[in-house]
Amino acid sequence: MARYVGLSGDQAAAFAAKQCDVDVVAAYPITPQTIIVEEFSNYVADGEVDTEFICVESEHSAMSACIGASLTGARVFTATSSQGLALMHEMLYIASGGRCPIVLCNANRALSAPLNIHGDHSDMMGSRDCGWIQIYAENAQEVYDWTIQAFRIAEDEATQVPVAVNFDAFTITHSLERLTVLEDEAVKSFVGKRKPKYTLDPHNPKTFGSAALPNFYYEFRVQLDDAIQRSFSTIRKVNDEYSKISGRSYDIVQAIGLEDADAAVLCLGGTIGTAKVVAKKLKSEGVNVAVIKPWVFRPFPSRELLTALDNVSAIAVLDRAISPGAPYGPLCSDIISTLYKYDREMCINNFIYGLGGRDISPREMESVMRDTARNAKEKKIEESVTYIGVRE
């Protein structure tokens, strides 16, 4: 039976973690993620969960405690944002390198300086290569659904890689939505018990976190890359099973309006909502622009995107992060690499937008879409980077 509740993105993350029967949470509060750990500590204080909540003095310690707990075989959850994720950076690599299937909810927030607490993707993009599976949710419902699925993806025997579920600061973390949630028992049986391959066990001693010098280190990094590349099949399997119990279907990439469009807009996270609304309006005026949302950013869904872009001849790639000195934003760089690798030539316009929480308005989105549709019609071939909504 469907159950409706009003939850913000942060509350949805905490509620999902609660239902997933998490053994250990080690976290440090940071805006705009604080509600997640506050909410979860309420569950602990009220005896609603059987979880060890470790209060730590920093995010570096939070992730360190998560790693230690995960190595004992515990199911581990944490949450952070921006500077917190940056402070965890060193430990993120240790979590993935040590193959600790931790689930982290990251409220995407700008990095200092200047100080800013609002949304953009520069925090996770700064830790892009940390060896975690990275998912971007569009709204609170997706935060809930992906957090539950993340435990299954992370802990799957074939994966054993940590997963970060990303969602935009304030627009998603703090906005109240009507969510359809599952019953506790349904989630509990969906996630099951963690079955770790190796654990810290005094009766069966093993060595974790040992050094691997030039004769071994390389092999372990390739092993991690392989696990992440192969995780597509695990993600799909989990998506299928989740759709059976929830009635909501998830995939690696979501594409809307591809049937009659030769132009497309691609972006991550909450901005997809704006894109969908504007695309619908334009469609009613006879301008067809598809909206493509990579739910999964790592592993990068090259094949899924190529399939989606099969009949498309002009794309606008919206990056909510800046890679100073790089030729494009991080999402666009990967898309261009993919298209080039498979010899697909098309008009590619990269737009940087929304840094530090600046809104991208429906009018700005409409202008991007109209230009992209025109480029497709005119069979234009170009590459450009444009900054949306910045004052000259």
Partner: protein, 92 residues
């Protein structure tokens, strides 16, 4: 030389499937200088045994301490700490 296993064969995450494997890693060949204990001066106070970070000072039943050169990295802490100057560092 035997070929080390490839990445597919290695346990995931760099886990070593047994404990105490540091013993197999002989760090003695890192050494440039080695400590020599003058047993005539040594009073067996065990300060070197306490201070050695490796630990490569071994206690010997019925005798004074000795250096385990398989693991001693030659850091010289023992020579520095010895209160009776019984340890000298000589080029290895």
């Amino acid at each position: 030389m035997t070929q080390e296993p490839g990445w597919r064969a290695l346990p995931i995450g760099g886990v070593v499937l047994e404990g105490g494997t540091a013993r197999k890693y002989r760090t003695g060949d890192w050494r440039t200088f080695k400590p020599i204990i003058d047993k005539n001066k040594c009073v067996n106070c065990l300060l070197c045994w306490i201070c050695c970070p490796e630990p490569s000072i071994t206690q010997v039943e019925g005798d004074k301490v000795e250096v385990d050169y398989e693991y001693c990295k030659g850091c010289g802490v023992c020579a520095e700490e010895c209160p009776v100057k019984a340890i000298t560092m000589v080029e290895d």
